[in-house]
């Protein structure tokens, strides 16, 4: 079905939280440098699947994960895998922006700093570069050292994106990243996603079908912890093969 080189390859993944079987036998190959969206009703497991990619799921008690998630062929759940190394490969955008409790500048510089970049000139360059690539530079260049919380929520979300890009990830994960934003800010984030897919693999969780259609190359429809259908955006939305997918697109299940 999809013949591109996979960036993230999930094999027979099962996730249990307590007694609940959250993800059931998931296998999916997420193509490199494309936008892949997970759609599905609330509670279907799409966010959980996203969280298995950067191992944030580990923070929950009573979680059991079986199967494999390979990124560039490396098993995320392998014995010798270092968590910080995996997470550095993936930028995360959450539902609401959460800037770190520091200045705009320090938010961007935080990642590079913890990964060992101390040179001031280099940090200045990185901050400017990533603020430019998220179209924030002109808006904030005069107040780089004021608290990040003074920015509007849309600006904060772009700042969070810039902060994630500053650690030079390969993959960007978005967990309904525009759900707290107004339409204009949403549009700017979507435009950024379309620019970013030249360099990064993007995986988005969304419940807005139109958004999935606007930004993604591929869509996976998840229902009750299973991947029902996975394919090219247009194909899946216009010509769904499965009855469940058809029902979801028409709005019968939500």
């Amino acid at each position: 079905m999809i013949n591109l080189a996979p960036h993230i390859s999930v094999k027979n993944l099962n996730v249990y939280i307590g007694d609940a079987h959250i993800l059931k036998n998931i296998s999916i190959d997420i193509p490199d440098k494309k936008v892949t969206s997970f759609i599905g009703p609330s509670g279907c497991g799409k966010t959980t699947l996203l969280k298995t990619f950067n191992r944030l799921l580990d923070r929950q008690n009573d979680v059991r994960i079986e199967g494999q998630v390979l990124v560039d062929g490396e098993d995320l759940y392998g014995k010798d895998t270092e968590v910080t190394h995996i997470r550095k490969k993936m930028g995360l955008l959450s539902q609401r922006p959460f800037p770190l409790p520091m200045s705009i500048y320090d938010n961007i510089a935080y990642g590079p700093r913890i990964h060992g970049i101390k040179n001031k000139k280099k940090l200045n360059e990185l901050v400017e570069h990533h603020l430019r690539s998220t179209a924030l530079w002109d808006e904030v260049k005069d107040r780089l050292h004021s608290p990040a919380t003074r920015l509007s929520i849309g600006q904060q979300q772009r700042l969070c994106l810039a902060r994630g890009l500053a650690v030079e990830p390969e993959i960007i994960l978005g967990d309904e990243p525009t759900s707290a934003l107004d339409p204009v800010s949403t549009q700017r984030i979507e435009e950024l996603f379309l620019q970013l897919k030249d360099k990064y693999t993007l995986v988005l969780v969304t419940h807005i079908l139109r958004q999935a259609r606007r930004v993604s190359d591929y869509i996976a429809f998840i229902y009750m912890g299973e991947i029902i259908e996975f394919g090219l955006t247009e194909e899946l939305l216009l010509n769904p093969k499965e009855q469940l997918t058809k029902d979801y697109i028409k709005g019968f299940i939500s």
């Binding site: 950067n54 923070r59 929950q60 995360l92 959450s94 959460f98 770190l100 409790p101 520091m102 608290p147």
Partner: protein, 281 residues
Amino acid sequence: MNKRKIEETFFKGLMHAATIVIVGSLFLILWTVVSKGFHAFNWDMVSKVPEGGFYIGKGGGILNAIIGSVYITVGSALLGLVISIPVVLYLNVYSKKGSRFASATRLAFDVLFGIPSIVYGAFGFTIMVFFGLKTSLLAGIITVTLLIIPILVRAMDEVVRVIPFELSDAAYSLGATRWETAKVLLRQSVPGIITALLLSFGRAIGDAACVLFTAGYTDNIPTSLHQPTATLPLAIFFQLSSPIPEVQERAYAAALILTVIVLIISIAAKYFSKKFSKNKI
């Protein structure tokens, strides 16, 4: 008037009354301390240690108790902070979401929080006897530290706990280690940590029962951790129980000094907590 309107008036009145009673009694306490203590107050009180015959109304001051209380309070607050910050970080960063051990630990601190200070005093005394120690500044600091750790842990835990999970997710997703993430959370909670520190300061400086058996009482200013030390609450207690009116008045002056110290700490804490909250999300 209909029923809803009566209800509204009644509860509004009730809230006014309750607030006035509380604020009023606070001012009454301050008034009592100030009016009774003010004319007994003089610079000798804060600049001199008791001279011979101090307790029958002769000269001197309570510098020994002021210094002793400051030593014990600062010492135990620092020691308490060093012990409780790791506990709070363990509960919120290192233990997993929904961990049973973490909830058991929280329950344990709730129980410790409710233990009366005299019990801590008696416990400290037992420990001292066991190790063959005498009443000393060190024993006082350790006992008061035990008293305030539950306060510090609970107050800081409340603050760190309400930090959205996503903030630490954000730090982790940038490749931060747990310790680096913990530092981000601490940064976010500085105002709360200051408030917790203030609460424990207030409790530590005002507690008499903890220091009664452990720190002892002396007219000298301690020069080492192994010497006994006086404290303000005990200074107030001993003077107030005297039959001599001049000595009793001095007790109120001592209470005034204690109150002023607590007031200064509160204002300073408010100031610093404001200053550090500018980056808070």
